[in-house]
Structure formats: structure tokens, C-alpha cells
């Protein structure tokens, strides 16, 4: 390990860290430092997460009684539409790639910034503009199309602010494309000496694959929304069945993006979990190369299955069969990942710190949500449960139980690196456990209600479903508390917590070899890498002390 970037060998920087590099507000708003832009993104998405959460809090409150009296049907429709739009495009899609992703990718591959720093800043301003459009749509009276904007309702019948909302999503899409291009180019062009493809941390692989999906799928979303806007604004008849248009075509265009988008939302989370587990199990991730292929397979096959959202839409039965088959196939790489995470624990030295709790929660909830996806991929079952709460439960299990948990896990894991402060461990564990129980109480009853036949997007519902809704709403209250906790103690830690060392977890990633928080240019000297990621030793010693177990495992895997 003579010329390696073994931890501690790099001279520690003496210049001020990136947070203190310059202090004016202007220096933040014109920064091209990927770490600062990541923080800017984090502020925006936190804001939107709580806005989306507040909207659905009202919804859950209303659903406690079958004949809701709290709000009108129109308000109800606007609330869940706002919730869906905001949570998907302004929170979950940019959540991990645009915060942890752009913060960590250069650090993890030993670069001083992303390939196109000004494009990066531009992307943030686009997000802000997009967010402004969406907030405008909300303030001006809201939008009531659901996050799916189905035609002809969105084009000819809705009296709400569809144009502004679609414009917001349209811009947000371009913002993610800009970040995607940036990340792909960075991973290809700026890896430091010795950082070969198969030494990349899985998080980098995951964000890289996500970026490919973003770049190739988002333009189609842009077109579908552009056509909706054109139809609303200029009366063009593209989706108007009365003039020969085809409403189902819209669904094809929308889902061509939005199915791959669900992998945009889960792949980075998988990457985070793949980083957390080795750190706290002190073990190399099991089957690293298969994990890489699985990531790429998910990204690739993810483009072939969108039609499973349209089984009852009037699509041709022949196409439905193709899409159903491919939907089963995409579960194979997900299965590989679940098994590999599980076996990474085998013979480890497992510590149950907060990030690890989130990661373990992720595995269980993702598996549950993924398995429910198989029910949906089976056409006859989907015919019954589509557009019911079964689907709502399915995707919240993956997106909230899975991705949001992983996001929180990553946030805690890298909090010391990002802010230079430790978070309060026992509070964090408590929040993680509370989140897990709150989550299951909120969304498990929805599976049952869904199979019993409770449709989604229902303001009022037949009274026999009340019991499940009451359970769900009480779970949501716990969940809200569990999400507010980190907001509290993480903010507290910024001011009062202990200073973090460079490598509090004894981890092997390159990002831990610089100071916390990192200096303006990330590394003072060009790092070099001479070994694979996750070079942990299971006997519990830290990476530098133990023998290079990585090589031995490599031999075993050959």
C-alpha cells in the first residue's frame, strides 16, 4: 500500500474549509463549488419535502371520516396533486442525486469539482425557477390533475392552474438533465489516478446509472407536458378524442419517463445503502461486481416496462403481455441486490448506529414494496388493484420506506463530512425506529384497503374502509413527528454538537480521507487509489491496521 491513498497519508489541508471559504450571501449564490451547490439544493428540497408533507397531512386528516367535511372535494384533489408533484419532482427525484450525489461524487472519485461547475449552478437556478412556478400554481389556486396529468382531463376539463404546474415540472426536468449530464461526464472524465471503474464505490455507480436514465428519459416527459401546455394554451387537438386525438398516447409518453423515474428515485437510495452497510458491518459488500451489473441492468431494463401502468387503459392486450413479462424480468436485478446486501452482513461486525438502522429498514421495506410490485405486474391482479390504495401502498413502501429512509441514512452517515459536526446518536436512533413503526402503521393498512377495493384519489369513500384509514392517519401522525425530529436535532447539532473528526466511522471511502468539512478544492494533493472500495477487515480493526482483506476476497471471488 505504499503509494496508495491510505487514510491519513494525505497532508491535512490548512486552508479554510468550503463553508468558511468566503462568507457573503453573494458568494453562495454565485458559487460553482459542488459542495455549496449541494447545500443550496438541500435547502430547496427540504422546503419542498415539508410542503408536500403538510399537504398530505391535511389529506390524511380528512380521510379519518368517510364523508369528509374538513375541505371540499376540489381542495382535496388539489392537495394530493400538489403532494404528488412536489414529492416526486421537487423532492425525491433531486433528493439524493442533487444533494449527496453532487456533494460526494467528486470527493469519492478524487476530483476537485464536477466536470461543468457553471452548469451545476445553472441547474440549481432552474430548480428554483421551477419551484417558483409550482408554488405560484399553488398560490394562484392549485392544480387538480394528480401528478400524472392525464389527458383529456388536464387539457380540456380541469379549471385549475395546470399550465403553471406543468411549466414547473418541465423546468425541473431540464434541471435534472443538466445535473445528469454533469455527473456522467464527471464519472467518465475526472476519476483520479488508480480509480478504475471497478474500484468505484457503489454509490457512484448508482448515481451514474441514475444520471443515464435522467438524460434519456426526461426529454420525453418534457414533450408530454409541452403538448399538454400547448393544448391548453392554444387549443391544439393532439390529445382531444373529439378531433381525432389520442389520450392514450399521452400515457405512453408520460410513463416512458415516469417508470424509469421510479428507478431514478430508488437507485441512488440503493447506492446509499450499499455504502452504509460495509461501514457498519465492517465487511466488503458481497458480490460487488454483481451489484454493479444489477445497477446497470435496472437502469437499462427500466426503460422497457412502462406499459404496466396502463393495463386497463385500453392498451392492446398484446402490448400488455409484453410489458407484463418485462416487468417480471426487472425484478431479477433487484433480487440480486437484496440478497447481496443481506449476505454482506454475514460474518460482519455489525454496529447498530442510526445510518445502519435506516439501511436495515430500507432492505425490509424495499423488499415488501418490491414484492407488491410483482402483484401489480401480474395483469389479472393489476386489473383489480390498479388505482386503488394497493398501488398507493406499493409505491410508498418503496419511495418513503425505501428511498426516504435511505436518504435519511445517508444524511446521517455523511452529516459529519458535510457539516463538520456530529449528530446526537441516541436521538437519531430513536427517530429511525419511530419512523419505521410510523411508516408501517401508515401504509400497511393501505394494502388491505386496496385489495378490498378502496380507490385512490377518493375524497369520500364507502364507510367500511374507515377503520383502515383511521389506522393509516394515526400512523401518519407518528411519521410526521419522526420526520420533524431530525429537522430539530440536526439543526441543533450545527450549533452545539461536537466537532467531527475526518473519519468518524473508520471508513475506507476516499471522501473520508480529507478533512470534515472538506477544503474548497476537496483535496490538497491529487489522491491516488490502489485498492478497491470497502477494504474493511471483519475482525474489527480499522482499515489501516488490518491486512488487506479485499485482495483475499477478490481471489475467492475469481
Amino acid at each position: 500500500m505504499s503509494d496508495s491513498a491510505a487514510l491519513g497519508e494525505l497532508p491535512l489541508p490548512t486552508e479554510p474549509d468550503y463553508l468558511r471559504f468566503s462568507r457573503t450571501v453573494g458568494s453562495w449564490l454565485t458559487t460553482t463549488d459542488h459542495k455549496r451547490i449541494a447545500i443550496l439544493f438541500a435547502i430547496v428540497i427540504t422546503l419542498f419535502f415539508f410542503m408536500g408533507g403538510a399537504a398530505i397531512t391535511v389529506v390524511r386528516l380528512e380521510l379519518v371520516s368517510p364523508e369528509g367535511h374538513l375541505i371540499t372535494s376540489d381542495t382535496y384533489n388539489k392537495l394530493f396533486s400538489f403532494h404528488g408533484i412536489v414529492m416526486v419532482w421537487f423532492f425525491l427525484v433531486p433528493s439524493i442525486p442533487n444533494t449527496l450525489g453532487i456533494f460526494l461524487v467528486p470527493l469519492m472519485i478524487g476530483a476537485s469539482d464536477l466536470a461543468f461547475p457553471r452548469l451545476n449552478l445553472f441547474s440549481w437556478y432552474l430548480t428554483v425557477a421551477a419551484g417558483a412556478c409550482t408554488v405560484y400554481a399553488l398560490i394562484a389556486g392549485g392544480v387538480d390533475t394528480g401528478w400524472t396529468f392525464y389527458t383529456p382531463f388536464s387539457t380540456m376539463f380541469s379549471n385549475s392552474h395546470v399550465f403553471a404546474a406543468a411549466m414547473g415540472v418541465f423546468l425541473a426536468g431540464f434541471s435534472t438533465i443538466a445535473t445528469g449530464v454533469n455527473i456522467i461526464a464527471t464519472v467518465h472524465m475526472l476519476r483520479c489516478p488508480g480509480m478504475t471503474w471497478f474500484r468505484l464505490p457503489l454509490f457512484v455507480w448508482a448515481v451514474y446509472a441514475t444520471s443515464i436514465i435522467i438524460v434519456l428519459a426526461t426529454p420525453v416527459l418534457a414533450i408530454s407536458l409541452l403538448l399538454v401546455m400547448a393544448e391548453r394554451w392554444l387549443g391544439l387537438p393532439i390529445f382531444d378524442p373529439n378531433r381525432g386525438g389520442d389520450p392514450i398516447l399521452f400515457q405512453h409518453l408520460f410513463w416512458f419517463y415516469s417508470h424509469p423515474a421510479v428507478y431514478i428515485m430508488v437507485l441512488p437510495a440503493m447506492g446509499v445503502v450499499s455504502e452504509i452497510i460495509p461501514v457498519f458491518a465492517r465487511r466488503r459488500i458481497f458480490g460487488y461486481s454483481f451489484m454493479v451489473y444489477a445497477i446497470l441492468a435496472i437502469a437499462g431494463i427500466g426503460f422497457f416496462v412502462w406499459g404496466h401502468h396502463m393495463f386497463v387503459s385500453g392498451m392492446s392486450p398484446f402490448a400488455a403481455l409484453i410489458f407484463s413479462f418485462l416487468s417480471f424480468i426487472i425484478a431479477v436485478p433487484s433480487a440480486i441486490k437484496v440478497f447481496n446486501w443481506t449476505f454482506s452482513l454475514y460474518r460482519g461486525q455489525i454496529a447498530f448506529s442510526a445510518p445502519m438502522l435506516y439501511a436495515l429498514g430500507f432492505i425490509g421495506l424495499f423488499t415488501t414494496g418490491g414484492l407488491s410490485g410483482l402483484f401489480l405486474a401480474a395483469i389479472p391482479i393489476d386489473v383489480h388493484v390498479t388505482d386503488t390504495y394497493f398501488v398507493v401502498a406499493h409505491f410508498h413502501y418503496i419511495m418513503v420506506g425505501g428511498s426516504v429512509s435511505a436518504f435519511f441514512g445517508g444524511l446521517h452517515l455523511w452529516w459529519p463530512k458535510v457539516t463538520g459536526k456530529m449528530y446526537p446518536e441516541s436521538w437519531a436512533r430513536f427517530a429511525a425506529i419511530l419512523m419505521y413503526f410510523g411508516f408501517n402503521l401508515t401504509f400497511f393498512p393501505q394494502f388491505v384497503a386496496g385489495y378490498l377495493g378502496m380507490p385512490r384519489r377518493y375524497h369520500t369513500y364507502p364507510p367500511e374502509f374507515q377503520i383502515y384509514n383511521v389506522m393509516s392517519s394515526s400512523g401518519a401522525a407518528i411519521l410526521a413527528a419522526a420526520y420533524l425530529l431530525p429537522l430539530g436535532y440536526l439543526t441543533w447539532s450545527l450549533f452545539y454538537a461536537a466537532k467531527a473528526p475526518s473519519n468518524p466511522w473508520d471508513a475506507t471511502g476516499l471522501e473520508w480521507s480529507t478533512t470534515s468539512p472538506p477544503p474548497h478544492k476537496n483535496f490538497l494533493r491529487q489522491p491516488r487509489v490502489a485498492r478497491g472500495p470497502y477494504d474493511y477487515h471483519p475482525e474489527g480493526q480499522s482499515a489501516e491496521v488490518g491486512p488487506p482483506s479485499y485482495q483475499r476476497e477478490q481471489e475467492l471471488l475469481q
Partner: protein
Amino acid sequence: MSPTIRSLWLRNLAVWAALLGLLTLSYFAAFWKLGSLTTAIGFGIAAVKALLVLVFYMELKEARGLVRLAAAAGFIWAGVLFALTLSDVLTRS
């Protein structure tokens, strides 16, 4: 005119001539009464023209593998979009 400049022009003018030739062909071919073949010819010629621009003007001929890969990805994924959407549209009753 230096020799570099001359070869620069010659090379590119040849491609340009081919492009305009194809454009002319495509103009007249649109009037041939061949049913749906006429449409196919129109798009076929467009594809050839696009290929010429891609290969010569956009220098995919000399480009590195990585760049070609990026270019190919665009076409392949557009192909997926077409193939699977049309698998529905063409078989809908």
C-alpha cells in the same frame, strides 16, 4: 488559398453536394405514386442525410468510442420508445 484550406473545403463540399443531391431526389420522389413506399423513401433519404451529417460533419468518423456511445444511446433509446409504443398502437383493435 493554402493547401489545408483547399482540402478542408473539398472534403466538406463533397458531403454538401451529396446532401443537396439527396434533397433534390427526395423532392421528386415525393411525387412518385408508390403508396406507402413513397413515405418510406422520404424517411429513408432523411436518414441517409442525417447519417452523412453525423459521420462527416459531426465527425463521428474520427470520434472516440465514448462519444460514439453517447450518440448511439440517443438513437437506441428513441428506438425503444418507438418500438414499444407502436407495439400497442399497431395492435390495438
